[in-house]
Amino acid sequence: MELLSGADMIARFLQDEGIEYIYGYPGGAALHIYDALFRQDKVKHILVRHEQAATHAADGYARASGKPGCVLVTSGPGATNAVTGIATAYMDSIPMVVLCGQVASHLIGEDAFQETDIVGVTRPIVKHSFSIRHPSEIPEVLKKAFYLAATGRPGPVVVDIPKDMTAPTERYEYIYPKKVKMRSYNPVTRGHTGQIKKAVEMILKAKRPVFYTGGGVVTGKASEGLTDLVKQLGYPITTTLMGIGSYPQSDRQCLGWLGMHGSYESNMAMHHADLIIAIGARFDDRVTNSTSKFCPTAKIIHVDVDPSSISKTVRADVPIVGPASSVINEMISLVQGHEIAHPEALTEWWEKIDGWRADREGKLYEPSKPGEVLKPQEVVEAVCRVTRGEAYVTTDVGQHQMFAAQYYKFDKPNRLITSGGLGTMGFGFPAAMGIKQNFPDDDVVCITGEGSFQMMMQELSTCKQYGVGVKIVNLNNASLGMVRQWQDLNYKSRHAHSYMESLPDFHMLIEAYGFTAITVNTLDELEPALERAFANKHELVFLDVKVDPHEHVYPMQVPLGAMRDMLLSKTERT
């Protein structure tokens, strides 16, 4: 029998659970745990410079690796600083366990120093949370936390740990729990066969079908199956922002992504479809535009592991509750040996789609002329070329995020790492940090803007400490581009607080941390700068790329309209 203190149990549990990295920041209530982590060397602790970055780094790690991220923060401000990162993970269904120190049990409720009811604060943005009430519970509670975070529809789990629970003087028996049993939590493992059969019949009979797939395919590790199914049928597919890469974008059947700034052909195809096969997507408002005008002629098959996602905003005709991978596999076996009922209709459908594609070809943006200020779109295209479309790309939020998603071509899942649901500025850089540590030999690039980058730029210091060689491409338009775009469109170009006065000299700032910065002003400087930046995989390089502040993101769906109602440029609309 092994007797361990609560703190040692935590360190030991993390080892037994196979946790490689824990991102965190110490403080009074977490000190026993920090001491226990210090006395072992299997779990690597990464000291961030702000707790929000710890959660984003763990989140990035989780998205890229498919394993749950792990965070350790102290009570009070440590925990509240983590809140934005927890909400980010929650909105995108990312598995994460956040261990929060708490004031000692006898002080709880007394407004003690650095006390916050973090379980209460995070309640609406976690999959579940626990408070440790006795040190002996620790192994079981942690096992449940990791199990809940990673299974079913994944999400963040908070574990609140009062300081006395980790006291070195109190020791209890430690046994690593191999299994978890929770009577109230049994995530579905497969879809209803009858429903799947019904769906496949509809799929085979469809005349204008579109697959619409989301993050559930990525987190559900179902991309291969999806690709097989879609290729077998020869149907068009569009993905959500979160689903980018779940089907190779370079393939002809992929129409790109859909929604507010999605591709013209995706949105047009959705609007005119007679069958939508939604898998692991949640019909959110950035996809559907006005739900009352959404896809008026389509029947909807909706596959999701979370029943509450089905018929939440748009009524499904055939709901299937189940994990994407098993449902897709079952669909593949049912489709095999069957011909589609209307091949001639599918040919016609593709002619129509190819027509939409041809309509917009080469008209998406106007490249800069020699000597002119760069267009952000061409910068992203250059990044894609230089990294051969194989990098892990993280983004922050705003115009640069949309440009990154539009102009970098992703053929693999988990490669575009972006805060789709919450839309968290400041996400990209710490997320890139978390990814790079797990994939040191891959290119990891954070495409950001000068607004977003300044929200988490203190993490340069963390990168310095651990030698994290991420690349940062700062699309510097000296303004909050997306806000400015909306102000141009809706507020007669009154740019209320959307421009950044007093920007730092990024070059000097980066050099102050001992890293290389390259400033890019024109097209001829761009590719050489990128080549130089990506030459050494282990060196952090910051590219400050000055881009056109007047550029807008198009297409852009017209608010309250249908999927097909889009602005296509500053002067054209559908």
Binding site: V119, M182, S184, P307, S308, S311
Partner: protein, 163 residues
């Protein structure tokens, strides 16, 4: 439409706040809420009455089921059921009104459970409609205080909500 949803909930600290929080967070509505432990000390039974169309009720039950602390739930209004609420009311009972109150209490098959020279405390059980009717009948006399438990309910017949 009004629905009565009965929930078996883990008897854990914070479990109730997850249920209540869900309603406010998702813009659902709670009309009444009633909660107490069951014969199994690890479980609480919670009954909530809510109003919404089919789409909203479907979302409410799905989101409730998603809460880790919710073990099982049933929408009692989907079948035959019994619903009861208990109410304690203090009413003025002076002069002629004293007899009038006593008569009304008998008509409603309620009970007077406490008496002072100037008021009666009445205990009444029934469905929400009966309790509302009693309050309406007492209004002219003078209602001083009302304490209602909120609706509790159970399915009729062989159906049982248990693990």
């Amino acid at each position: 439409m009004r629905h009565i949803i009965s929930i078996l909930l883990e008897n854990e600290p914070g479990a109730l706040s997850r249920v209540v929080g869900l309603f406010s967070q998702r813009n659902f509505n709670i009309e009444t809420l009633n909660v107490a432990p069951t014969e199994d000390p690890s479980l609480s039974r919670l009954t909530v009455t809510t109003v919404g169309d089919d789409r909203v009720i479907e979302q409410i039950t799905k989101h409730l089921n998603k809460l880790i602390d919710v073990v099982k739930l049933v929408d009692l209004t989907e079948g035959n059921h019994i619903e009861r609420e208990l109410m304690l009311v203090k009413v003025k009972a002076l002069g002629a009104a004293r007899d009038e109150v006593k008569r009304t209490v008998d008509i409603f098959r309620a009970q007077i459970v406490d008496v002072t020279p100037s008021l009666y405390t009445v205990q009444i059980t029934g469905d929400a409609g009966k309790l509302d009717a009693f309050l309406q009948a007492m209004a002219p006399v003078g209602i001083l205080e009302v304490a209602r438990t909120g609706v509790s309910g159970i399915a009729r017949g062989d159906k049982v909500l248990s693990l």
